[in-house]
């Protein structure tokens, strides 16, 4: 009996998810033992044509990390979708958009303006732009199209499972892979992590008061946090209460607040909004002006609450300002 075939692919990502696979250490050997990896651009020299040559559905599973920003990424994941029995969105970027998704706070134009013109490292700031198609001595050359938005994987193709995390914790990866290999398939659409927030496994949970009220929010560099007390109780914006567990609360163990890479639990539609609601509830004062002061202590609220989930959020991206209209301002 031939081993099930699997593929790995990366889109708009940092490479950390690939590292995470490698970080499986010996476990990776079990995986390799159990499956036949037919496509893994970061590690093995297979071509897209090899994938295209497969039968539809021939791949038992593909693991795709990264968000989708270019036409090339979209096309390849569509191809992989056709060839795969199960698609796993691997990591925060593929599931929710991740850090690259924060690019949705800018328009495509402004990104190109910056990258091709304004950035300090651009020497020839003449406004040159990538040309998607041009003739070269070798023939006609084409570059992928740079899309308007960063999209999550399931905004492009059907996704069967999601592995959360930036990057996904080794234990969850191993569990997921083995479950797929052994045919213990969870319900489609499942997130392959515990459906309960991080406080459930945080060793500092017991130090959080029942009636916690915050009088000032701090950013991590502003204070030296006590290493044993709940970080929220110290005024640090920790997204643990609104973020899935399964990571082992490693950031908190390193005395850093949770930034939400494991995404929301299943009952939450918009991770950032719910995190915001919970954080706002901690504000002590009733005075509108003082509330505004506390709210302002959370510098960059979009980046704080939507660090990993902007493209998956209800608003998806920053709204382009409407053209100025006539009519009186009220």
């Amino acid at each position: 009996m031939s081993k099930p075939k699997v593929a790995f692919y990366w889109c708009a990502s940092c490479g950390g998810c690939e590292e995470a696979v490698v970080d499986l250490n010996e476990v990776v050997l079990d995986v390799v033992e159990a499956v036949d990896i037919v496509f893994w651009p970061v590690a093995m020299d297979f071509k897209v044509s090899d994938v295209a040559a497969l039968e539809d559905g021939e791949l038992a599973a593909v693991f795709i990390n990264g968000a989708i920003r270019t036409s090339e990424q979209a096309e390849i994941v569509e191809l992989l979708r056709r060839k795969a029995g199960a698609v796993v969105a691997f990591g925060a970027c593929a599931w929710l958009g991740g850090i690259p998704g924060l690019a949705n706070l800018y328009s495509r134009e402004s990104i190109l303006d910056y990258v091709c013109g304004e950035s300090p490292s651009t020497v020839d700031g003449g406004g040159a732009r990538p040309v998607e198609e041009f003739d070269a001595p070798e023939g006609r050359m084409r570059l992928p199209h740079f899309d308007e938005d960063v999209r999550t994987l399931d905004q492009v193709i059907d996704v069967d499972y999601y592995l959360p995390g930036c990057a996904p914790p080794a234990g969850l990866i191993a569990q997921a892979v083995m479950a797929l290999v052994e045919g213990r398939l969870p319900e489609k659409g499942s997130v392959l992590a515990p459906d309960v927030a991080l406080c459930a496994e945080c060793i500092r949970a017991a130090t959080k008061p029942e009636d916690l009220k915050v009088e000032r929010f701090y950013r991590p560099y502003e204070i030296v946090a006590d290493a044993e007390t709940c970080l929220l109780a110290q005024g640090l914006v920790c997204l643990g209460p609104s973020t899935r567990s399964g990571c082992g609360a490693v950031c908190i163990a390193a005395n850093m607040p949770c930034t939400g890479c494991m995404g929301p639990t299943s009952r939450v539609i918009d991770h950032g909004a719910k995190a915001l609601a919970a954080i706002a509830s901690l504000i002590e004062t009733r005075d509108p002006d003082e509330i505004a002061v506390l709210a302002e202590q959370i510098v960059d609220p979009v980046g704080t609450f939507y660090r990993y989930s902007l493209p998956a959020s209800l608003l998806h991206r920053r709204v382009e300002p409407a053209p100025i209209r006539g009519g009186p301002a009220v």
Binding site: G189, C199, K208, V268, K274, A275, A277, A278
Partner: protein, 674 residues
């Protein structure tokens, strides 16, 4: 489109297939149909997902209207109901009942308010129809997700409380005590009786006020079912309908109430030989001693020591002749505030009113000219137990020969109170009669309109006219001591337009009586917060419905009686007190109340134990189980605000009837189609 995740939807909808929604659009006569195209709304509703049938009817709240719903439910045509009609605050209970009559959980029901929120407020018919459609779609989308809920019941405690011991509170307390209920009657002043005890006569029959009130006061004292707490106030209310815990503070009288016999020997023997301090009961027209009893029939007949004026309290040096005088050793100068906490099933608020402060209208000279009086002061002058033993005298002891009564002082005045105080016309006529009878003076009444609706009222007006009281129709511009002619010298002059003869008149008088209006008690806002009820913009307590629930409030188990709800004369006050008592009795005798189902709960397996909700609950209904690391809502204590649900960062807290999924669907519904 929002697809709620699997976890967001609630329990299976019904045992026999998915939701089959019936939409019933009410014409409300022409109230809705006159503006909204009912047919278009029905047609639209029938195209919405899960809608099995859409109908319309002239009056959905009528028996045949409700029968439409019940029949469709009974026949299995529908299993969920949307009624598009008036506000849910009006008829939600009616249609929930109809849904239950049809054999479904009453909570498989949702209302769309297309009258108060659409037809009555939208100028354009087409726009109104579109808005109605949107609201119907919202209701349809949401009701499809409603979960099966059992109505909740709570027991009602048998004891009851009345706050305020004026005629309203007295009557309500006696009625309920006579029905066998134990009543706690709490009064702030040292005695019950309220304003009515200050009056001499009552209109239009001219009954002696004391003659009809004091028997009721002594009935309160002697009724074994009534615990009377005077000089006391409510300082805390907790719990909910059927089970309130009320904290009452008793202010120290420095006299043991159970020992004092009301012999008043101590007052006689007080080191102050004469009264020296303003007597509140006589509106400051006489003086009392630091130890006093408000009036001879005060109930309870227990003296009070006023620490503000008592020499012992002020200097610590007094022979304390009062103590010597007391045969029963009733004095206790060490007394401090004490508190009682009682549990009651329902409460009647009868906290009364205050009269308008005439000094706010300097043009009438109150406080400036000594012979300008308020009507309440004149009531005391007329009262045989008052400062002048019933003689109408000016400050210098002389009798007035000409008296002017100015109506509507503070009432019907855009600068003060817009409302009509309802009683002033009649009491001004009464005062005119009494003053004329006692002094033979010429009496002028200055009025804007005469308002005398009520049994025997117009006849009383007629009688006063025949007695020769002058009636000048016109608002008084001012009261002045400027003499423009010799006959005005040493008089007060009332300047008013007489609109009946079309000229401005200056009428010299000896005495001016200001018919001050009725306004809310100054602490009405505090009381309202304490009892969790609402006030109108003017500050009177708001009844649940002006016609159909005139003594109920938006807080179940709290009822209103008397002028705390709005200006009222004695007959209306007593009638309302009786009604409030009847409502309480109906509730207590049934023994249980139905509670709103909209409590919060926490889905145990999703709760991470983050405790965000625990501290947020204003009613401490959420507790944290340290062992299991989960939060838990006590649904008996929960009042259903949903604050915890809005805050729960993992969607574990949900509110019945207001789940996230239901609200998301309603949002989508009101936007998706129209």
């Amino acid at each position: 489109m929002l697809e709620p995740e699997a976890g967001l939807t609630t329990q299976p909808i019904s045992t026999n297939g998915g939701p089959r929604i019936g939409v019933y659009v009410c014409h409300c006569g022409l109230n809705i149909a006159g503006k909204v195209d009912i047919e278009a709304v029905v047609e639209f509703a029938s195209t919405l997902p899960d809608v099995a049938v859409a109908r319309d009817y002239k009056f959905m709240c009528s028996d045949p209207g409700q029968e439409l719903i019940e029949k469709d439910l009974r026949e299995g045509l529908v299993n969920r109901v949307v009624v598009a009609s008036c506000s849910p605050l009006m008829h939600e209970a009616t249609f929930r009942r109809a849904t239950a009559e049809g054999g479904q959980s009453p909570f498989y029901f949702q209302m769309a308010s297309i009258r108060e929120h659409v037809s009555w407020v939208t100028a354009d018919g087409a726009e109104a129809t579109e808005k109605a459609k949107a609201l119907v779609a919202g209701a349809v989308r949401r009701v499809a997700l409603h979960e099966y809920l059992e109505p909740r019941r709570a027991d009602v405690r048998p004891d009851v409380m009345v706050v305020g011991g004026g005629i309203a509170g007295i009557h309500a307390a006696l009625t309920m005590a006579d029905a066998g209920k134990h009543v706690y009657l709490v009064e702030r002043e040292p005695t019950i009786g309220g304003h009515m005890a200050k009056f001499d006569k009552t209109f239009p029959t001219l009954d002696c006020s004391a003659c009809i009130l004091t028997p009721k006061m002594s009935a309160v004292r002697s009724n074994p079912n009534i615990t009377l707490w005077t000089y006391s106030d409510v300082v805390g209310v907790e719990g909910f309908t059927g089970d309130f815990t009320v904290r009452v503070r008793h202010r120290p009288r420095y006299v043991k109430a159970d020992l004092c016999t009301g012999c008043l020997e101590c007052i006689e023997k007080c080191i102050h030989k004469q009264g020296k301090f303003d007597d509140e009961w006589n509106e400051g027209l006489s003086k009392r001693k630091p130890i006093y009893i408000p009036f001879p029939q005060a109930t309870p007949a227990v003296v009070v020591v006023d620490p503000e004026t008592c020499i012992w309290f002020k200097t610590g040096k007094c022979p304390q002749t009062c103590i010597e005088a007391c045969e029963r050793d009733a004095f206790d100068f060490e007394q401090t505030e004490t508190f009682d906490e009682v549990k009651v099933g329902a409460m009647v608020l009868a906290t009364g009113f205050k009269t308008f402060d005439a000094a706010k209208m300097p043009e009438y000279g109150y406080g400036l000219y000594p012979n300008v009086y308020t009507s309440l002061e004149v009531e005391r002058l007329l009262n045989a137990a008052g400062p002048t033993s019933g003689e109408v005298e000016l400050r210098d002891g002389s009798k007035p020969k000409v008296v002017g009564i100015i109506h509507c002082v503070g009432s019907r005045d855009a600068k003060h109170h817009l409302w009509c105080s309802k009683v002033c016309c009649m009491y001004s006529l009464k005062l005119a009669h009494m003053v004329k009878e006692r002094t033979g003076a010429e009496v002028y009444n200055f009025y804007i309109d005469m308002r005398t609706p009520g049994k025997g009222y117009e006849e009383f007006y007629d009688k006063i006219l025949k007695e020769g009281v002058h009636m000048v129709r016109g608002r008084v511009a001012g009261v002045t001591d400027e003499a423009a002619s010799p006959e005005e010298e040493d008089h007060l002059v009332i300047r008013a337009e007489d609109t009946l003869i079309g000229s401005v008149r200056r009428i010299p008088v000896d005495m001016v009586i200001l018919a001050v209006g009725i306004e809310p008690q100054p602490d009405a806002q505090d009381v309202r917060r304490l009892f969790n009820i609402s006030c109108g913009g003017e500050g009177f307590f708001t009844e649940r419905h002006p016609k159909l629930a005139p003594v109920s409030t938006f807080t179940d188990g709290v009822f209103l009686a008397g002028a705390c709800q709005g200006p009222k004369d004695i007959p209306d006050t007593v009638a309302q007190a009786g009604a409030a008592a009847a409502e309480v009795l109906a509730m207590v005798d049934r023994g249980f109340v139905m509670l709103e189902a909209n409590t919060a709960h926490i889905e145990d397996e999703v709760c991470s134990g983050c405790k965000t909700c625990v501290g947020l609950c204003p009613f401490s209904a959420i507790s944290f189980n340290e062992e299991r690391k989960k939060a838990y809502v006590n649904e008996v204590v929960c009042k259903g605000c949903g604050v915890c649900v809005g805050a729960c960062p993992s969607g574990a807290a949900q509110q019945h009837l207001f789940t996230d999924a239901e609200i998301f669907s309603e949002i989508e519904g009101v936007l998706a189609y129209v």
